[in-house]
Amino acid sequence: MSSSIDFTLNGQSVSVTCRPDTTVLEWLRGDALLRGTKEGCAEGDCGACSVLVKRKSACDEETKFQAANSCIMLMGQLEGAALITVEGLAQSAPDGHVVQQRMAENGSSQCGFCTPGIVASLAGLLDQNNAPEDSDIHDALAGNLCRCTGYRPIVEAALSAAQGSNISLPEITLEAAKTVVGAEDESVFHLPKTLAELLELKTKHTDAVLLAGGTDMSLDVAHARARWERVICTRDVQELQGVDIAQETLRIGGGVSWQTALPVLQKHWPSFATLVRRFGSTQIRSMGTLAGNLATASPIGDGAPALIALGASLTLASKSGQREVALEDFFIDYRQCDLAPDEVIEAITIPLPKPQQEFRAYKISKRYDQDISTVCGAFSLTVANDTVSAARIAYGGMAATPVRCHEAEAAIKGCAMDEATLSAAKMAIEASFQPMSDMRGSAAYRAMVASKLMERLFADLSGEAVEVMSL
């Protein structure tokens, strides 16, 4: 039995028979001979492969077109979706999309190799925001590297294109996605519609790859060239989609992407939202989910320290039922978490902020945008009458897993926000960790920064300017 992958390619319905674990980039360049889209890195970091993807959410709401990295997106993920490539944008008007026109006129390309990806990202931005500011453009370009121009002519072209006409991408009606594509004897890609179906599949195929956005997992295919015989994708599972507030908690479904969660995070924890905007890129955030970020159990995944500090918990579901796990207990060891082979993350629950609760997340990396943290510190403090009544502190990049720092919490709980408390907290942090040295930073630097982030927190809460980006 084999089932084709049906989607819309540059406005045309297509029905494709290929392994669903083929990357979209490989298919575009190899089978479709659409070679405008480039491979720059095959790890979702340079953006030369960017394309625009629109899909129906499981709740039947159509998303806008969003930029995505085709190098780490699988063909199975295109089932029921619409894809626009740089060639499609060129056909969209006699002189191409307005971003293409302005970039061609404005010296925005030199070698031209990053250009198709930048065109896709900017066309995606303008479809959603017709009056972008510089910072919006930087957000949209965080996942697109250009080595030639110094970016100024690209940012200017985007600003100028926003003034132009026809900046909206075409309206496309999506067909319902099938629940399975691919061939049984080769590679199968399941797109279950309900949690029950998902759990049934998970029970039946415990060795199958569970895929959400695939922005981390699919590196195995794109980079290490693994082949997957069976993939179960959470994309279309209705119960995993919600972002709901009830009983003083925020519940984010296991299939919700970072980009979708961003507005609600911004509303309740602006500092968390700032962290999230530095998390991957627009391309990554449009595909990657909170649950996926946690389930990969990376010691440096930025979602974890923030969510641990916020006291988040997970609802894990399997056919035999549900269980709740505090996020801080979920991580067992390097890249290991407390998730049974038949389980999925159904939801992430975060207690909403209480009065006088302050939350700050600080990410330290070599580059501001789209970098992996050297150290990430997250702090949730309740301060009343200058005394710390409650504290949760967590770090990423300091140990084999993201960890809560009970010692530092103990050092400040019940204490005044003063020099002595700060000094005790810093000592507690220094005593708590034996970080490692790697390409992102030495052990000595990590240890020093981890404790100095506490100093930043104190200064920040007292209203001092503490971040270079604030200027």
Binding site: C41, G107, Q370, I372, M448
Partner: protein, 778 residues
């Protein structure tokens, strides 16, 4: 000795030249229609290549077993050193730099062999099945260890002028120190790629993403044991190069050609990013140890520098890179007595290579660090120390290598940039900010750049072109320069359009091909438009001179009265269309094709003594940068940059502006966020954009002002009096690094120099801050 073929003396009015045309491929770039080598359709039977890389940094190869690999699906052949019919040689200058490692491996990522298979995926899978066995030895990963052991890849160079030692010992102030700077990956967005097509009778066509088609041709021929005339190398465009595709492309092309030769099938070799970053060279990191003698006013009396370059496992271009570092240690400063030693340290890391600036940035960074350190030590303003040492205008002061600085624009650019940057006002604002803020500290710095234009080796300063005029008046242009994004093709076409008085659109730009223009130099050393523009000018001028004679007869005029403009050829009131004149020339059996040639005049160089006039001219620029650092984390940000750049009289100001901005941001990356990191086993762990961070759009200073000095024609007879632009502005980014040092120094109210090397990552900045605090306490 015959006189070099300089620029044809024909006087041509500027019309298309000077206009800010967009890059000729801009429309194709944005539409995804520009064809790079990996975009070329696969010819039937095409094989794909994946390399087998050394996992160890240093060792003897005991065995290579490809038997399992050859059983893998799609695998067609395996190649290693013994499969090379000709010479296993990739050295651009010296010898003994193999395409495939022979008995020893000398760095992790060294290419040992290659698998050709029917698909790219199969090639990668099969290459993993090749079994390797080594007898490993301890690697040398540190340049200073290599220096101490005298382990080097090419001869040590000495540049001496006067008596530095006694000038230093008798100076009122003696300072010494060390500054270390990292290397830099080119991170061209298009990785290395070549596509080889075997023809009849040993012919081989190779499409190579290279800045140096001739060198690719020579090395492919050498590897195949053929004469050069059997190999044709073509390149329409590269997806970025920056020096990384100068000598390095030969290995990739040679392997593709070897596989094509062996299998008699077309073979494509595209390196994936991680392979490219592990297996190909980068900018040289340097350690500079110095001693300097200084007078009370900051005037240098003598300077001694040991410049230790990380050459990597073989020499490649390290010799000339070191030469350029030594010849740029003076930057804009007259150093009366100098004693510079350049050492290319052999380490078990991938051999480093050309990268925009080619040693110049490293030399300039060193002298700017020396100035900063000297100023803080003597309690002087760093800019006062600079001013005390500038080459004077009209003084005829010579560089340490004895070239007079005769087209001195230092004062012009410095004065202008200080004005544009509102230095005085901002200096006091920044001092106030630093007094008011405990955690965030700002820094401000200015630095000028003088960069020598020409390849140091005079031989390389030559270029060829081929111009045809067809009978409809359309023009076909070819030259030896390559297009890597810099807009060279556009600039040269503008030159040719003006010689014929036709529109730019009537000049067709064609792919660089060794079969059309032979024996070319690399498109490098910022020389692309100087050399190829002049060669094309000469070819077009020659054709035009022939056409003038026909036109004069047709228009009843003397040749002197004939002018070419707006697609028309006229004399007095009579005129004939350019296309009609072309047709007429054909009818009268006059050749409408010419091969042009150009050799840069005036230059000479003694490579043993490092003396002469290596540079046809100098180009100048200056920059002011403002930064802020976080003294708790070491994070930093460049808030504003002001640049003034000398471009002579630009052929295309828009393209020149693109070079200035792009080079500056690339230089900023080198000095801030881009860090190459090896583990103790010699494995480079930064082999992709997830770990190797080049600047993103938000890293560009939010206030970024670039001014190109207006109406400053080159004093030398370059084509349309323009100046080279590719590399010089990269060095202006040293201002950002100096501003970061200034921000750290602000903790001591500017009195103490920061112990800050490059790249100034958050870690290095934080450690420099802590070091400063510790010294203040002591």
């Amino acid at each position: 000795m015959s006189k070099p073929t300089g620029l044809n003396s024909l006087k041509v009015e500027r019309s298309e030249v000077g206009k800010g045309y967009a890059h000729d491929s801009a429309r194709r770039h944005v539409r995804g229609e520009a064809i790079y080598i990996d975009d070329m359709p696969d010819l039937p039977g095409t094989l794909h290549i994946a390399p087998v890389l050394s996992p160890v940094a240093h060792g003897k190869i005991k065995s290579i077993d490809a038997s399992k690999a050859m059983e893998a699906s799609g695998a067609v052949c395996f190649l290693a050193a013994q499969d090379i019919p000709g010479k296993n040689e990739a050295a651009p200058i010296l010898s003994g730099e193999p395409i495939f490692a022979e008995s020893v491996v000398e760095h992790v990522g060294q290419i040992i062999g290659a698998v050709a298979a029917t698909s790219f995926a199969e090639a990668i899978q099969a290459a993993r099945l090749v079994e390797l066995d080594f007898e490993t030895s301890a690697p040398c990963l540190n340049v200073e260890d290599a220096f101490a052991n005298g382990s080097k890849t090419c001869a040590t160079q000495k540049l001496k002028d006067g008596d530095a030692q006694s000038a230093i010992s008798s100076a009122p102030h003696k300072l010494s120190g060390r500054v270390e700077m990292g290397g830099q990956d080119h991170f061209y967005l298009e990785g290395h790629v070549a596509y080889a097509l075997p023809g009849e009778d040993d012919e081989m066509t190779v499409w190579s993403s290279t800045q140096h088609p001739t060198e690719v041709q020579i090395h492919v021929a050498l590897a195949l044991g053929l004469k050069n005339h059997n190999v044709d190398v073509q390149v329409r465009r590269m997806g970025g190069a920056f020096g990384g595709k100068e000598s390095q492309a030969t290995i990739i092309a040679a392997i593709a050609a070897l596989a094509a030769h062996k299998t008699k099938r077309p073979c494509r070799f595209r390196m994936r990013r991680d392979t490219d970053m592990a297996a190909t060279g980068k900018r040289h990191g340097f350690v500079m140890n110095y001693e300097v003698g200084v007078e009370d006013n900051g005037r240098f009396t003598g300077l001694k520098v040991d410049a230790i370059a990380n050459s990597g496992h073989v020499a490649d271009l390290s010799g000339p890179v070191v030469t350029r570092a030594l010849t740029h240690l003076d930057n804009c400063y007259h150093i009366p007595n100098s004693d510079f030693t350049g050492f290319a340290a052999k380490t078990n890391t991938v051999s480093n290579t050309a990268f925009r600036g080619f040693g110049g940035p490293q030399g300039i960074l060193a002298i700017e660090a020396i100035i900063d350190n000297t100023a803080r030590e003597l309690g002087l303003d760093p800019n006062a120390v600079r001013a005390a040492n500038y080459y004077g205008p009209q003084t005829g002061e010579k560089t340490p290598y004895e070239q007079p600085v005769e087209d001195n624009r230092i004062a012009d650019v410095v004065e202008r940039v200080m004005q544009n940057a509102e230095w005085e006002k901002r200096r006091s604002e920044i001092d106030q900010f630093n007094a008011d803020n405990k955690i965030l500290k700002k820094g401000l710095a200015m630095m000028p750049v003088k960069f020598g234009i020409s390849f140091n080796l005079p031989t390389l300063n030559q270029a060829g072109s081929l111009v045809h005029v067809y009978t409809d008046g359309s023009v076909h242009l070819n030259h030896g320069g390559t297009e890597m994004g810099q807009g060279l093709y556009t600039k040269v076409a503008q030159v040719v359009a003006d010689v014929f008085g036709i529109a730019l659109a009537d000049v067709k730009i064609t792919a660089t091909t060794t079969g059309k223009v032979p024996n070319t130099s690399a498109t490098a050393a910022s020389s692309g438009s100087d050399l190829n523009g002049a060669a094309a000018f000469n070819a077009a001028s020659e054709i035009r001179q022939r056409m003038v004679d026909i036109a004069a007869a047709e228009l009843d005029a003397t040749p002197e009265d004939v002018s070419f403009e707006n697609g028309s050829v006229s004399a007095g009131k009579k005129a004939i269309g350019f296309s009609e004149l072309a047709k007429l020339c054909w009818m009268k059996r006059v050749s409408l094709s010419a091969a042009g040639f150009y050799a840069t005049p005036k230059i000479h160089w003694d490579a043993t003594k490092l003396k002469g006039r290596p540079f046809y001219y100098f180009t100048y620029g200056a920059a002011v940068a403002e930064v802020v650092i976080d003294t708790l984390t070491g994070e930093s940000r460049c808030l504003r940059a002001d640049i003034v750049q000398d471009c002579g009289k630009p052929i295309n100001p828009t393209l020149d502006l693109g070079q200035v901005e792009g080079a500056f941001v690339q230089g900023m990356g080198w000095l801030t966020c881009e860090e190459l990191w090896w583990d103790d086993a010699g494995r480079l762990k930064t082999v992709g954009p997830s770990t190797y961070k080049i600047p993103g759009s938000r890293d560009v200073p939010p206030e970024f002002n670039v001014e190109i000095l207006e109406d400053k024609p080159n004093r030398e007879k370059t084509v349309f009096r323009s100046k080279a632009i590719g590399e010089p502005p990269l060095m202006l980014a040293v201002s950002v690094w100096l501003a970061l040092r200034d921000a750290v120094s602000s903790l001591s109210e500017g009195k103490m120099a920061a112990n800050l090397d490059a790249p100034a990552t958050p870690e290095r900045i934080l450690f420099a801050v802590e070091d400063m605090k510790a010294r203040l306490k002591a």
